[in-house]
């Protein structure tokens, strides 16, 4: 069983990551190297999302089919986003 302690530890991580995202902006990294900062901030969001989905939604402990189900939805959304943005002339 996932212990309450682990849940609490994850909560702290999420909290810190959110703060770091704003700190990245505050120190002016966005102005200096936009795409580096962009990658950093999105990566932090991704990690946070994985934590929430994996532990709070306990997907890690469920049959993989649920993960694939969600990845299917995500893939569809990404296909729409990426292909439509790429088509812009």
């Amino acid at each position: 069983m996932v212990s309450t302690k682990l849940y609490a530890a994850i909560y702290v991580v999420l909290f810190v990551f959110a703060t770091v995202q704003v700190v990245v902006e505050e120190i002016g990294l966005l102005e200096e190297a936009y795409w580096l900062a962009f990658g950093l901030i999105i990566a932090l969001s991704l990690i946070k999302a994985l934590f929430v989905a994996g532990y709070y939604q306990h997907l890690r402990y469920e049959p993989r089919s649920l993960t694939y189900l969600l990845l299917g939805g995500l893939l569809a959304a990404l296909a729409l986003t990426i292909a439509s943005s790429y088509s812009v002339t």
């Binding site: 849940y7 909560y11 966005l30 901030i41 569809a76 959304a77 986003t81 439509s84 088509s87």
Partner: protein, 909 residues
């Protein structure tokens, strides 16, 4: 061997007969047993006759009662409702089409002919919308509702009330569309609703808004239905019915529903944005500099192309079934047929830009989408050949259902070949916007209708217990086929006519006249059908349980019409063919005892899976699984010998009645009708505006009250599993349903974020000005939401520890944090408003307010559920079964995850 109907005929109850509306009730059934039953289904003959208790059905009104049809949640009833309603919409859409054909009798100047320019445009638009949305899919889903549970061996869908809800939302969305004509004219921008013609600046009538909202409601209905079907079809299949072994009609529906789940989520996003543009004044589609017009085409066709297969697949399933039945041959290359459908279903999401070859998309993407488009056409070749080869060496009986299926295949071949023309981009450039396209997609889509009409004749005896008149059926087909080709083939000949115009080259007029005549012949053929089917209800011969030789699927193994709970026992394919296991664990065949044990073993395995997956659930799962076989099977079988007359839902048997789906739909209907009066976020002053406002308020109250009643009602559905439940073994129905819903929500938010990204890319990513000047309110909200997620986790932990106080305290904290989130957002928005930023200020503000607003809407919905949970927890619920808290948590964490992306995208980057 006795026929499977006989025990029923002798028994006192006659569930089936009692519930039929036929006046000559009680006359002896003439169906003798079929000589060559093969002994499979015959096994049911030995089953004990169902007792009188079953027929009471806890006060469930009979079919002759009007009340029944308002409260029913039974999949067969809902199926009938879908079929009848969709046929009404066929008439509606058909009349609009005939109006158009009359207008097209000759080239008209403005004001000539029976339709004004705007009336013509309305006819064109609403004809398309009705046929695609309100007729084709619901017609197919009438059959899906009726037949799929029977084919997979389930007694009903996983969520019977949600099924009824889907139907009522569908019906009321259709009513809303009808009303739109009386609100200054309905939507007149084509069924593709291209932007920016779809915004009030160009289509100002209130009715146009109502039509959009009607479609929105329809999409909600589809989403509810998709979740329900997917859960049922994956979780509740009979033993031995692995996905590979599913009948082809069920296969086609399964893939259709998967496509619906994702495709309609994208349409939902498109329609929500459009509604916001029309009602609240956001400026997505008017934003020329940010590709607003193109955004609509992307969103619409991302949905629109899968939609083509969504409407066609069920027809393909019907063709596959009827070809097998009426040729007496199994499908050639069945495996490849299924693989082809699967491939098409997946690929349908990456071909949408072939509808946009003439827009400003770049050449690389055109090339890519040309390739995927050819790719998706090929599997259809295989399916067509597979059907044709199935007829070889068969003994083909040209009965009405087969005639229609066969005709459908022929028409589809023509539709397919003319589609290849469109796949060549150079040709597509010139065909764009002409009657070539019109003719092509009618040959494809109406070929689908043709097959579904075949399905109607095919299942009519099953649904009504009566045979239709074969001669009239053939007359219908002859008229239909001639009318069809007279109507659509001339469109190929004069393909240079531009679409949706009524002034065309006079040289084309003769062909358009032929088409108009064909349209009326096609329309008249339906009169024959309606007459035939209606009179056969009374005059028709009684139908055998299977009037067709060589039918294979489970619905033909039970009486026509089937009794309320479908099967005399638990259907199983455990030994390779259909048998019904005795619910008491006894056996009529030597092997059956073993099968019962098998069945329970399967359930046990699932429980173990669940246990491994999540300790917290182990106890619950274990309880179900380790219950003695008799109880477990009885629970699953859903038969109760207890009388609970008048109080449905209180017994152990499954419930069949609830008025709340209807009531919720009334609420939604009134709310949306009221909202149609909104413009730029405000109701017009004066009486009319006040009326719209009042409607909104009343509708909202009715809807909310009904939802609460819906939640509080004790309703026993079926849980399962009953055998096969890949790939969701060990995940309860509700939980599976929640996850499936969340997957569609991923696409919804994905489409919103995608829209933002697209518009930002189109207008220059780095030059885009972020709306909030300060990320700190956003950061505060991130903290609040993260903390609230954490407290939901704590609530679940407390529930499992049995701490009522802990549950209440955690949920209350969640609620307060959520309110804090909204409060903080309110302050922030207020601040922005005072800075002069409003939804319509610019596209940046529009995307910011709408996307974060959609998220806030999710938060509000979550908070309402939280309140409900708190009240229930106060009353001591959830300590033994923490499922509700867990499922709510899944939703809440999802809302949290969405914010984790919205925050950087809208506040930082």
């Amino acid at each position: 061997m006795t026929h499977d109907d006989h025990p029923r005929d002798d028994g006192p109850g006659q569930a089936a007969a009692d519930e039929r509306t036929k006046p000559d009730d009680g006359s002896p059934r003439t169906d003798g047993g079929r000589a060559t039953d093969g002994g499979h289904a015959g096994a049911t003959g030995e089953l004990p006759a169902t007792g009188p208790a079953e027929e009471e059905h806890h006060g469930f009104p009979p079919m002759s009662s009007v009340k029944r049809w308002f409260v029913t949640t039974n999949h067969k009833d809902v199926g009938i409702l879908y079929i009848v309603t969709s046929l009404l919409f066929l008439v509606f859409g058909g009349v609009l089409a005939l109006l158009m054909r009359v207008q097209l009798w000759a080239p008209r100047a403005a004001g000539e002919g029976i339709l004004s320019a705007l009336a013509y445009n309305q006819s064109v638009s609403i004809h398309g919308l009705i046929m695609v949305f309100w007729f084709l899919s619901p017609f197919a889903f009438g059959f899906a509702n009726y037949v799929v549970p029977l084919q997979i061996g389930a007694k009903d869908l996983a969520f019977p009330r949600l099924n009824a809800l889907s139907y009522w939302l569908y019906l009321f969305s259709g009513l809303l569309l009808g009303i739109s004509f009386f609100q200054g004219g309905s939507f007149a921008g084509g069924w593709t609703m291209y932007a920016p013609l779809n915004i009030p600046a160009y289509t100002p009538s209130i009715g146009a808004s109502t039509a959009i909202l009607a479609l929105l409601l329809f999409v909600v209905s589809v989403t509810v239905s998709s979740v329900n079907f997917l859960t049922s079809m994956h979780r509740m299949r009979a033993e031995g019915l692995t996905l590979r072994k599913l009948p082809l009609f069920t296969w086609s529906i399964l893939l259709t529903v998967w496509m619906m789940l994702f495709a309609f989520a994208a349409l939902l996003a498109a329609l929500m944005i459009l509604s916001a543009d029309r009602l609240a004044g956001t400026t997505y589609f008017a934003a020329a500099d940010a590709g607003g017009s193109l955004l609509w085409t992307h969103l619409f066709w991302f949905f629109g192309h899968p939609e083509v297969y969504i409407v066609f697949f069920p027809a393909l399933g019907v063709m596959a079934e009827t070809f097998q039945t009426f040729t007496g041959r199994r499908l050639v290359g069945r495996k490849w047929f299924i693989a082809s459908m699967l491939l098409v279903a997946l690929q349908s999401f990456v071909v949408w830009m072939h509808h946009m070859f003439l827009t400003s998309i770049n050449l690389q993407i055109k090339t890519l989408f040309m390739a995927t488009t050819i790719g998706i056409s090929l599997p259809f070749d295989l399916m067509v050949f597979s059907l044709i080869y199935t007829t070889i060496k068969g003994r083909i009986r040209f009965l009405t259902p087969f005639l229609f299926s066969f005709g459908a295949l022929l028409l589809f071949i023509i539709g397919g070949i003319t589609g290849v023309f469109l796949g060549a981009v150079v040709l597509d450039y010139e065909f764009r916007g002409t009657y070539w396209v019109v003719a092509h997609f009618h040959y494809v889509m109406v070929a689908g209708v043709t097959a579904l009409i075949g399905g109607l004749y095919y299942w009519y005896p099953k649904i009504t217990g009566k045979m239709y008149d074969e001669f009239l059926g053939k007359v219908h087909f002859a008229l239909y086929f001639v009318g069809f080709n007279l109507l659509y083939f001339p469109m190929f000949v004069v393909w240079e006519t531009p679409r949706r115009v009524f002034e065309y080259d006079p040289a084309f007029a003769p062909w358009h006249k032929v088409a108009t005549v064909g349209g009326f012949v096609l329309g008249a053929s339906f009169l024959v059908m309606f007459y035939n089917l209606y009179t056969s209800l009374w005059a028709g011969e009684d139908a055998d349980s299977s009037p067709w030789a060589h039918s294979t699927t489970a619905e033909w193994a039970i009486p026509s019409p089937p009794p309320l709970e479908n099967y005399p026992g638990i259907p199983s394919y455990g030994d390779g063919s259909l048998s019904f296991l005795d619910r008491l664990g006894g056996s009529d065949r030597a092997a059956d005892g073993g099968e019962v044990t098998d069945g329970v073993d399967v359930a046990g395995d699932h429980a173990t899976d669940g246990g491994v997956a999540d300790d917290r659930r182990a106890t619950d799962g274990g309880t179900v699984a380790t219950a003695d076989p008799a109880t477990a099977v009885e629970r699953a079988g859903g038969k109760s010998h207890e009388h609970d007359a008048g109080d449905h839902g209180e017994g152990h048997g499954p419930s069949h009645a609830s008025i709340w789906p209807f009531a919720v739909s009334v609420g939604a209907f009134l709310t949306l009708l009221g909202l149609s009066g909104l413009q730029e976020g405000a109701f017009a002053p004066g009486l009319e505006g006040g009326l719209y406002m009042a409607l909104t308020g009343v509708g909202f109250l009715v809807g909310m009250a009904s939802l609460v009643a819906f939640g509080r009602e004790r309703f026993h559905g079926l849980e399962g599993p009953f055998g096969e439940s890949w790939p969701f073994e060990g995940i309860e129905n509700t939980k599976t349903g929640v996850w499936i819903f969340l997957a569609s929500d991923v696409v919804l938010f994905g489409a919103f974020i995608g829209s933002y990204v697209f518009m930002r890319v189109a207008s220059g990513w780095t030059t885009w000005e972020i709306v909030p000047g300060d990320p700190l309110p956003g950061l505060m909200n991130t903290y609040l939401l993260l903390t609230s997620s954490f407290t939901v986790v704590l609530a679940l932990v407390a529930a499992e520890k049995g701490s009522r106080g802990g549950v209440i305290a955690s949920l209350l904290t969640t609620f307060l944090l959520g309110v804090g989130f909204l409060f903080n957002k309110g302050i922030e928005w207020d601040h922005l408003f005072h800075e002069g930023l409003w939804l319509d200020t610019n596209v940046q503000a529009s995307t910011f307010f709408l996307t974060t607003g959609l998220h806030a809407g999710h938060v509000i919905a979550g908070l309402i559920v939280t309140l409900y949970l708190i009240v229930r927890a106060w009353q001591g619920a959830y300590l033994e079964d923490s499922g509700s808290i867990e499922y709510f948590g899944l939703y809440w964490h999802f809302v949290d995850i969405v914010w984790l992306f919205l925050f950087p995208l809208f506040y930082i980057l």
